[in-house]
């Protein structure tokens, strides 16, 4: 029994080892969003392509949608763009763009040249919406349910793998819930 006391340090070291080992596989860049489970912050911003059209948080309610933060100055957004085009063609859900801290001219030009995967583009010139969303880089994407509640945030470019392994199952699930609630 007394000998067991001698094993306490070993056990402690082993417990710490387990925690440190688990820590090796955490990605510090992938921050948990503080907004998951909360509604989209209220905003009133111009549409990128048409300054007379005002988009608000109400616009996004009613359908499961994807909010994608992008900008012309963001290299990873260029990597992500062809994938977004592909997902947009599949017509699974509306993809709203948040044109983040960008200029109108170059942004529109980029979309005409490379194609426009977005249902609508929100022009967040001074980054205020981005700030309220807790955006710390671009690209970032937010999965929003039909009630306008943010369900998931993905930081970084979406590619085929992220889409099919992470986003699509969640979208399907949210859409099923939306259908159920719409029916009942």
């Amino acid at each position: 029994m007394k000998k067991l006391v001698l094993f306490i340090p070993l056990i402690l070291v082993m417990v710490m080892g387990v925690f440190l080992y688990k820590g090796l596989f955490l990605n510090p860049q992938q921050l948990e969003s503080a907004l998951e489970g909360k509604p989209i912050p209220a905003f009133q911003l111009e549409r990128l392509e048409d300054s007379s059209e005002i988009i608000t948080n109400e616009t996004l309610i009613g359908k499961v949608s994807l909010l994608n933060v992008w900008a012309t100055w963001c290299p990873s957004c260029k990597y992500e763009h062809p994938y977004l085009m592909r997902f947009a063609r599949q017509n699974i859900l509306p993809i709203y763009g948040i044109n983040y801290r960008d200029d109108r001219g170059p942004a529109i030009r980029e979309l005409t040249r490379e194609g426009d995967p977005y249902t609508k583009n929100i022009f967040d010139h001074d980054g205020r919406l981005g700030l309220d969303l807790g955006v710390y880089g671009a690209p970032e994407s937010y999965l929003v349910d039909h009630n306008g509640i943010i369900r998931y945030r993905y930081a970084g470019p979406i590619d085929q793998r992220v889409w099919s392994e992470t986003l699509l199952p969640m979208i399907k699930e949210l859409q099923a819930v939306a259908k159920q609630e719409g029916a009942s």
């Binding site: 306490i8 340090p9 402690l12 921050l31 801290r101 700030l131 710390y136 880089g137």
Partner: protein
């Protein structure tokens, strides 16, 4: 002599460069009062930049940190208290932005862990020391027979 002067010069030069590196980017923001400035800078120092992660809002030059810094300054100048500013930040960027974690159920290990480990160390140390003392007293107790034999040996040595 020359060598020591050289060393002093080198040390001086080094201290100068170190301060230059530590100099924070100058902000042109004008505070309403000196107290506000002190409080806002203190707050910004205690908040982590969500993008660069290992710098606080003052030290970081990333656009997000600049934005958030300005936001903190403006909130302080608008008369918001520290708790309101911190609430604003954590509601957007999560507890991650706090360099000093809040005392919560999930951070309890973080706060009490070191104290717990210290207590365990004391207990183990105490047990060890007591055990050794018991062994030491046991060794001192020798029988009368052994004592007489020891005396004989000591006497032999004296001769």
């Amino acid at each position: 002599m020359i060598k020591s002067i050289f060393t002093i010069m080198a040390a001086l030069l080094l201290s100068l460069t170190v301060t230059a590196v530590n100099a924070t980017p100058v902000d042109t923001y004008e505070f309403k009062s000196v107290e506000n400035q002190k409080r806002a800078l203190g707050l910004a120092h205690s908040l982590r930049c969500p993008q660069c992660q290992n710098q606080n809002l003052i030290d970081s030059n990333s656009p997000v940190a600049q934005d958030l810094r300005l936001e903190v300054y403006e909130m302080v100048d608008a008369g918001k208290n520290d708790a309101e500013v911190i609430e604003f930040m954590t509601s957007r960027y999560g507890d991650f932005v706090l360099y000093k974690p809040r005392m919560e159920a999930k951070t309890l290990v973080l706060w009490l862990g070191p104290v717990g480990l210290l207590i365990i160390a004391f207990i183990i140390g105490f047990i060890f020391i007591r055990k050794q003392r018991i062994v030491a007293t046991e060794v001192v107790e020798i029988s009368a027979e052994e004592q007489s034999e020891l005396d004989k040996l000591l006497k032999r040595d004296d001769k």
